[in-house]
């Protein structure tokens, strides 16, 4: 079974990479708190006292609001089993949850002509999978299965947790940086500092804190893209059919969206393909990897 081994290798590689990037994010965060302390108090540890609580509170708030916000932003409604298309969606979700060994998620539908789907939920036991009516109408059974397998993998990999926590950390870093920026502007910084600090080091620390939000945002996007690749390869492992998702992605690429996409932009990383941007651009600013490369990787499995 050389094919399956290849999928497993993809999974392993993506997991390792996420770990490295998450470590980078943590280092960045700790670095910001230390630098903040250095600039303000000349002592790198003192900022931990309030830096960490701020960050934790930020993450907790984002986390506790996540599920309902996502569903209402997407204007999603529960799938209706008396409609044949939506019943087939429920069937597919059930099949994939069996393949993944997970409890059955709740199934939602979003009325939209575009082909898309997303998963949300705080833990695998209380997950939600939502597909657009466009996806139900335009995708064939094996393609829909590929998409659902991708979403099921997001649930199994705890990607929703990873996404909300990293968004929280990005927000916390931005907050700290902003506090520093404004206090420097108003000349409040260094009030408590002893004068023995190294001037060059101080400038570097200030620059670091000011630039940190950009880096943390980029790190977050890199994590998001890695998780997409991971969900693609995991999904292929679940459905044992990488071609299904590859064909679905091809359809998404060639599908010309009608009308404005619904929902808020913060939700974009959760979707199988970003509903707000063109898919073929390879940029460090995108939430998803370019669709062509995803298709290429799936076909190489």
């Amino acid at each position: 079974m050389p094919k399956q081994l290849l999928i497993e290798d993809h999974i392993k590689r993506n997991k390792r990479l996420t770990l490295v990037i998450c470590a980078l994010m943590a280092l960045l965060f700790i670095g910001v708190i230390f630098a903040f302390g250095y600039i303000y108090f000349g002592n790198i540890y003192i900022a931990l006292l309030f830096g960490l609580p701020i960050a934790l509170a930020y993450v907790a708030v984002t986390y506790s609001f996540s599920v309902n916000t996502v569903l209402s932003a997407a204007k999603a409604r529960p799938a209706n089993p008396s409609n044949r298309e939506e019943k087939l969606l429920i069937y597919k979700v059930e099949e994939m949850s069996i393949a993944a060994g997970l409890p059955m998620p709740k199934v939602y539908v979003q009325d939209s002509d575009n082909i898309n789907a997303f998963a949300t939920g705080k833990k695998p036991e209380k997950a939600v999978i939502c597909a657009t009516t466009g996806a139900l109408r335009k995708l064939k059974t094996d393609e829909l299965e590929g998409v659902i397998a991708h979403e099921m993998s997001h649930i199994k990999n705890h990607d929703i947790l990873i996404a909300t926590v990293t968004i929280g950390v990005v927000g916390a870093i931005a907050l700290i940086s902003e506090i520093l920026f404004y206090s420097l502007f108003w000349g409040g910084a260094g009030r408590g500092r002893k004068s023995e600090g190294n001037a060059i080091l101080l400038v570097i620390a200030i620059l670091f804190v000011i630039l940190a939000p950009i880096f943390s945002r980029l790190t977050y996007l890199a994590i998001s893209r890695k998780r997409e690749y991971l969900a693609d390869s995991n999904g292929a492992y679940l459905s044992r059919n990488p071609e299904g998702l590859a064909k679905a992605l091809e359809k998404i690429k060639n599908d010309i969206p009608k009308g404005k996409p619904k929902g808020s932009k913060t939700v974009a990383p959760l979707y199988i393909a970003n509903p707000f941007k063109s898919q073929s651009v390879n940029s460090i600013w995108s939430t998803h990897p370019p669709i062509d490369i995803r298709i290429q990787r799936l076909r190489s499995m």
Partner: protein, 187 residues
């Protein structure tokens, strides 16, 4: 005296570390083994569900397909084989038989436009296909679980603990090639 305390401390640390590792592996092996049992139960549920749907299907089809006695008999025979199966492998074989019999039944049904317009039949067909898919995914999950279990008890250091726990590798279910194909029945 100091030397003795040092050596004693090192021994205690090593023993504690060993116990912690053993504890971790013990729980992991047991958990993976339970997952295999659980995934078998999942297959069993779906097989029962499928067997339960057959009488309804026969009832619906009977009026339209009097002349296809052989096809109908094959389905009934496969179903009773499934009901009487005892071991997992017997179950799986009977289920494969049923899959084949149903496939030809649905293929034959293509020639009966009245039957194909019957809502009841359509619903049963959907549900049977769905159950068939669920069975094949449940088997796949069973095999994934067996693979996870075998991997841990065959590699170091799990191998070493598994020997002491008297755990042996388990067999995967053989999935026939035909069952992996996308069902050909048209909707």
């Amino acid at each position: 005296m100091d030397m003795l305390i040092l050596i004693g401390a090192i021994v205690v640390v090593i023993v504690v570390a060993f116990l912690l590792i053993f504890w971790g592996y013990y729980n992991r092996i047991i958990r993976l083994e339970n997952r295999i049992d659980n995934s078998w139960a999942q297959i069993d549920v779906q097989l029962k569900r499928r067997a339960d749907l057959i009488p309804n299907l026969m009832e619906t089809v009977k009026g339209y397909m009097q002349h296809e006695r052989e096809v109908l008999e094959n389905v009934t025979r496969a179903r009773s084989a499934l009901m009487n199966a005892k071991t997992p492998q017997e179950n799986i074989e009977a289920d494969n038989m049923l899959t084949g019999a149903l496939k030809s039944l649905f293929a034959v049904a293509e020639g009966y436009p009245d039957l194909k317009a019957n809502q009841n039949f359509l619903q049963l067909q959907d549900e049977l296909t769905h159950t068939e898919d669920k069975i094949s995914y449940a088997r796949q999950h069973f095999n994934d679980s067996v693979l996870g279990f075998n991997n841990i008890i065959e590699t170091f250091p799990g191998y070493w603990f598994a020997r002491r726990m008297n755990k042996k590798t388990k067999d995967m279910l053989q999935i026939p090639e035909a069952a992996r194909e996308v069902p050909k029945v048209k909707f």
